[in-house]
Symmetry: C2
Subunit: 336 residues, 2 copies
């Protein structure tokens, strides 16, 4: 049986993945320096395409490993901006398409270290977040269709302006997020307007919605509110058509209680201030939790900012996270 | 002195310009067939880039002819989607860059025939619109800046979502248009979201505003309302920055009373139902009105739709417009 599995996940702006990888390497190097042999082998994994910004959806590497996606589906994922390029062909091109089979290996325990990507630990001045699980997510693609027309001679009451309807829906998405404080998140991140010309009333708007909440029942409430708000805005904006399509869903994922306790105990033993936290972002750990006991360690990041060039975390916090990860890992790797 | 100047402006979907050109050719052909000689010469003009959808702003051809833009400014206008391409180089490439000097020729009268691009004549079942002038226009470029952040772990109250602010501004633009019924038009046609990624809170949104009204004083009121609404939405959306930049302006343009009367008289003489109308769209005639007496003839178009592949007008209405144009033109070209 293979033993503990150390993640490789991420900090470092555009190269999402740096913190997890560095922490994993540092731990294995430390064990080697000390001549320390664990009962079970320790492996480091660097997942492909966790962020999903070039190839959607996110986390296709761990998704393929855990059977969420078939290998073929993962490799034929297309570049968002250059649909002629597939993930598989690009991995070949950069020499990252290895010969080993994907998935099918038993894992006793999976740990992942990550920056929080949110402002909670920084505000609480705690270097360690003990991640008890991940929020559920529902992603939507919404298409609003009106009537393209010239911006000058088309009187206001006769317009079917798809963008006016979409703007009201975007405002409603934000309102739904605020209504279900403090845990709900609701975001429109992507918008495409057609024909996108200064003096043409937009005939069509496509946009995405990202809903997150730790409780599945609340995600269902938000789903109903979204559909109602879109219908209302479409009617109130000159009689538009609106199509609300659920694009991606995963339910809230609790992590393994024993491994979560190991992280908490390690923080306490090291004297590191810590608190339980729910992951708002998706992580490879969320997919790994389907096939193996899983836990995560969060460290604060400056301003809660991530997926951005100015993403930052302090050396002290990164070091603390790495030490907690090492101790929690040894609990598991040295278990009989 | 050169005499009457016949336009070439537009119908026909993507080839904006077809109706005016065809009407002009038909009139000159008719005069030639009848061996009819006018006192003053009749010229047909096909203006470059009236619509402005590829090269902004619109109407740079007539703008250069009338001195609104320098020739150099017109020729160095850049392709909206491929900024490496200039209008001048593209005209060279397709063989449309002729050797004649631009502008500086006296014009006694300028007529332009056009589809209405709005629903008024169709609803009134009148084939002829006697255009008394053009609405004023104010175009804006608005940039909203917030803070890019991960859509998952950033709690709603801590967000500075540029798109939520922009959505409220877009809704406000529409409200300003409705508030000043029946003549005001207010449109957001172009939106660019950054970074435009499904799971990232937008840090920056750029959009355009197109305001039109036949009275300059009302455009000033709308300008103040826009700036106030943008400030309010920026404040209410987590403290965003907003920059409102006026990008283009031209004041309401009344056409020449004698030429307008000639159009009205021609419609009456031909027994064509007609009504006075104000042009909501910009036209080359609006620039020509700065250097020469100008008038326009409108004909209805189906559903008020233009700048669109399904743009359409009936042969009967197009014929009526052409006949009115011929008669109005002769009034002027045969004047001593």
């Amino acid at each position: 049986m293979t033993g503990s599995h150390l993640d490789t996940q991420p900090t470092g702006g555009r190269f999402d993945g740096a913190y997890g990888v560095m922490a994993g390497l540092e731990i294995v190097r430390t064990l080697n320096d000390l001549g320390y042999e664990t009962e079970a082998p320790v492996e480091i994994v660097a997942w492909t395409n966790e962020e999903g910004s070039r190839f959607s959806p996110a986390m296709v590497g761990s998704g393929a490993f855990t059977g969420v996606f078939t290998l073929d589906a993962a490799l034929t994922t297309r570049d968002n901006n250059a649909p002629a390029l597939t993930l598989g062909a690009e991995l070949e091109r950069i020499g990252f398409a290895g010969p080993m089979p994907v998935g099918g290996r038993p894992v006793r325990a999976y740990f992942e270290a990550h920056i929080e990507q949110g402002p909670i630990l920084e505000a609480a001045r705690k270097p360690i977040g003990v991640v008890t699980g991940a929020q559920g997510q529902r992603w939507y693609e919404i298409t609003v269709t009106g009537q393209e027309a010239h911006a000058g001679p088309t009187p206001m009451p006769r317009r079917k302006d798809a963008l006016v309807g979409a703007a009201r829906m975007i405002d409603a998405v934000n309102r739904i997020g605020h209504q279900h404080a403090p845990f709900a998140c609701a975001t429109v991140g992507f918008v495409q307007v057609s024909p996108n010309s200064r003096n043409t009333i937009p005939g069509r708007v496509f946009f995405t919605v990202d809903f997150r909440h730790p409780e599945d029942a609340m995600l269902s409430v938000m789903d109903r509110e979204l559909r109602q708000a879109c219908d209302d805005a479409a009617t109130a904006s000159g009689g538009l058509d609106v199509e609300v399509k659920e694009f991606w869903y995963f339910p809230p994922t609790p992590f393994d209680p024993a491994l979560v306790a190991a992280v908490r105990d390690a923080a306490a033993a090291l004297g590191q201030p810590h608190q339980d936290i729910i992951s708002g972002a998706g992580h490879d750990a969320v997919y790994m939790a389907r096939v193996a006991p899983t836990a995560m360690v969060f460290v604060p990041c400056v301003g809660g900012i991530s997926h951005n060039e100015i993403e930052d975390a302090t050396p002290d916090d990164l070091t603390a996270g790495c030490a907690v990860l090492l101790n929690a890992l040894l609990e598991s790797a040295d278990a009989p």
